[in-house]
């Protein structure tokens, strides 16, 4: 095992894939300045700074990937992806289908997101669900150093466009990463903590909040299972359903806004495919329908915290008892 920051785990993944495949390259605003190790090893043809223009960064990646390159682009902060929406959504996501399968787009588009740096809504917007909603794209949002490495390697090898989201607050956190070749498949969730009473489903740094909530619940004798989705598309439906059927109670947690977020999709899947197994309504703990504030206390109130998750999970048992009482009194 080695101990790496998430930033370095990503860098190591890219370096390994660049050694393995000469078609892998990386560009973006300041990439060559900030990833000096990659620049030194692979040179300025494969590691490039770009002009400040997200549209052309993404467009160049789409065009190059169609012709056999495997570009990794860094779009810095997720809200800046809106300037590359046409290239990512209309081109990368659609031109394979619309050309009858003539082209493929093996590219990775990275961006940072999430609370923690009090940067405000034009730097922090969890817009990952926008891309889940767009055909032809894959979306990942890891939560551990090992997964950042393993998923980045898989994303680079994947023949489809992958949106790769990085929690900015976790960028310089360290974690264990297995030595040697380490791949994590796209579309596979991880069970972070096994439990029998309630399932907490999450991704990104909200997974940590869920783990903390699970510890609080355990003190009260409630055993929560914590599922880290890791990939939002493909979504690991099997893992979600298996856990929901086991516990019968589900809380979905994410920092992204509530309406039409990934949590809504999960609630719908559970309603369609696990309805009879559910003992209580599926709850969502998310940010409210507001842009992410900058002010520290507001930012803290915006993001799901462990206490609120634990309270929500505990309430599922109360409503269960209430339902039982109602049935008994009728």
């Amino acid at each position: 095992m080695q101990c790496l920051t998430i930033n370095d785990a990503i860098g190591q993944a890219i370096a390994e894939e660049m050694r393995r495949d000469s078609n892998v390259m990386m560009f973006g605003e300041g990439v060559a300045t900030k990833r000096v190790d990659l620049l030194n090893e692979f040179g300025g043809r494969r590691i490039r700074n770009t002009p400040l223009a997200e549209g052309i960064i993404a467009g160049a990646a789409v065009g190059a990937s169609a012709m056999g390159m495997r570009p990794v682009i860094d779009l810095l902060f997720a809200p800046f992806m809106t300037l590359a929406m046409d290239e990512l959504v209309n081109s990368a996501g659609k031109l394979r289908y619309m050309s009858g399968g003539q082209f493929k787009f093996p590219l990775v588009a990275m961006a940072m997101t999430g609370t923690g740096w009090t940067v405000g809504a034009q730097h922090n917007h969890n817009l990952e669900a926008w891309f889940v909603h767009s055909p032809g794209l894959k979306v990942v949002m890891p939560s551990t150093a090992a997964d950042f490495k393993g998923l980045m390697k898989s994303a680079i090898r994947d023949d489809n466009p992958v949106l790769f989201f990085v929690e900015m607050a976790m960028t310089f956190d360290s974690g264990e990463v297995p030595d040697g070749e380490h791949l994590v498949p796209l579309g596979k969730a991880a069970v972070r903590r096994a439990g029998s009473d309630v399932t907490l489903i999450s991704y990104g740094k909200s997974v940590r909040a869920c783990e903390a909530a699970a510890s609080q619940l355990a003190e009260k004798g409630v055993f929560a299972e914590v599922i880290d989705l890791r990939s939002l598309k493909p979504l690991d439906e099997a893992a979600i359903l298996a856990s929901a059927k086991k516990t019968g109670r589900v809380v979905v947690v994410h920092e992204a806004n509530r309406m039409c977020g990934v949590g809504a999709e999960i609630a719908a899947i559970l309603a369609e495919k696990a309805f009879v197994a559910l003992k209580a309504p599926v709850l969502r703990i998310t940010s409210p329908d507001v842009p992410a504030p900058s002010s520290y206390p507001l930012e803290l109130a915006f993001a799901p915290q462990a206490d609120a998750i634990a309270t929500a999970a505990a309430s599922l048992f109360e409503s269960d008892q209430k339902a039982v009482r109602e049935i008994q009194s009728s």
């Binding site: 605003e29 700074n49 002009p51 549209g55 405000g120 730097h123 507001v290 504030p293 206390p297 507001l298």
Partner: protein, 316 residues
């Protein structure tokens, strides 16, 4: 050519530049000791803000970006309220909801500040359109960086302003840096004014560290806009002498280039030009330092927004 600027006005500009410098250095120092989040400072670029804003009238409007403190202060903003915004306090110009990167102050005519690089260029076209439709007879000054000129919105904005004859004074602060990338890595020429000229508008490039020259150039641009109703482009040739934001060790900056530009510091140059005696300078510096210190203390003492404000101001 415009007449010489009278010394009293230049002394006022000196005090404004010193105020901006003191404001930025205090913000950086407080970041360094963990009392404030990082901000993008405009140290070394004060002459652009002060020279251009001095040439504007009260009815004129300003759009700015992530590096806005200089523009705001030159326009008469209360440093305590900018600090409060940086600190996320309720008394900030945006009630603490902006932080340092998007400080608008409509009461000062500083509208629609955005940290999306290039957004101010798109939005300026609309602000200019409204000015023209409503017959306001004002000028819209749009401040942006050399990096923003690589965004499509730069070219889209200039083209629309030229064909629709919008009263926009484009002010490109060419500070040689685009975050962590030097301008020469991203464009084949040096001057953004060359691009602007090809959009069919008069485009000047001025020594951006000479506040008097900037002021006169802005006056000339404004006169052009007022007489022809058409946009004008002004590039201020300058240098970002601190990092992109705080903290930033500037390890990627060529030390010789930095030293050469520090020797062209706009405040030093104006002090030399005005030939003030040491006592006079000290008096001004002390006044500025006290004002900034007081502003910081006010901001620190101000309350955070109420939690209920998390959900206010989303919809009109």
């Amino acid at each position: 050519m415009t007449e010489a600027v009278e010394p009293g006005a230049l002394r006022g500009m000196l005090e404004n530049m010193l105020t901006i410098r003191a404001y930025e250095e205090k913000a950086a120092a407080m970041q360094a000791v963990g009392q404030a989040a990082g901000t993008c400072t405009s140290v070394g670029q004060e002459a652009a803000a002060v020279g251009v804003v001095a040439a504007l009238g009260a009815e004129d409007l300003i759009l700015t970006n992530h590096r806005s403190a200089g523009h705001l202060l030159a326009r008469g903003a209360d440093p305590a309220r900018i600090y409060a915004e940086v600190l996320g306090k309720a008394t900030g110009y945006c009630k603490g909801k902006s932080g340092s990167l998007h400080v608008s102050a409509k009461e000062l005519g500083v509208v629609l500040t955005s940290t999306i690089v290039g957004a101010e260029l798109s939005l300026a076209a609309g602000v200019g359109l409204a000015s023209s439709m409503q017959g306001r007879n004002n000028v819209v000054a749009c401040f942006f960086g050399d990096g923003a000129a690589s965004e499509g919105s730069f070219h889209e904005s200039l083209n629309l302003a030229a064909v629709w004859k919008l009263p926009i004074l484009y002010v490109c602060e060419n500070n040689q840096w685009q975050a962590f990338v030097h301008r020469r890595e991203t464009m084949p020429m040096d001057h953004i004014s060359d691009w602007a000229a090809s959009h069919g508008m008069p485009a000047a490039s001025v020594d951006g560290n000479d506040v008097e020259a900037v002021y006169r150039a802005a006056q000339a641009g404004i006169a052009h806009i007022k007489t022809t109703g058409q946009p004008y482009f002004l590039e201020t040739w300058t240098y970002r002498t601190r990092g992109h934001y705080e903290p930033d060790d500037q390890g990627y900056v060529d030390p010789d280039e930095l030293a050469a530009w520090r020797a062209q510091d706009p405040i030093d140059r104006l002090q030399r030009k005005l030939d003030l005696d040491a006592v006079e300078i000290q008096v001004i510096q002390k006044r500025v330092a006290q004002r900034i210190e007081k502003a910081w203390n006010e901001a620190i003492a101000a309350p955070y927004p109420a939690l209920a404000d998390l959900t206010s101001d989303v919809y009109a």
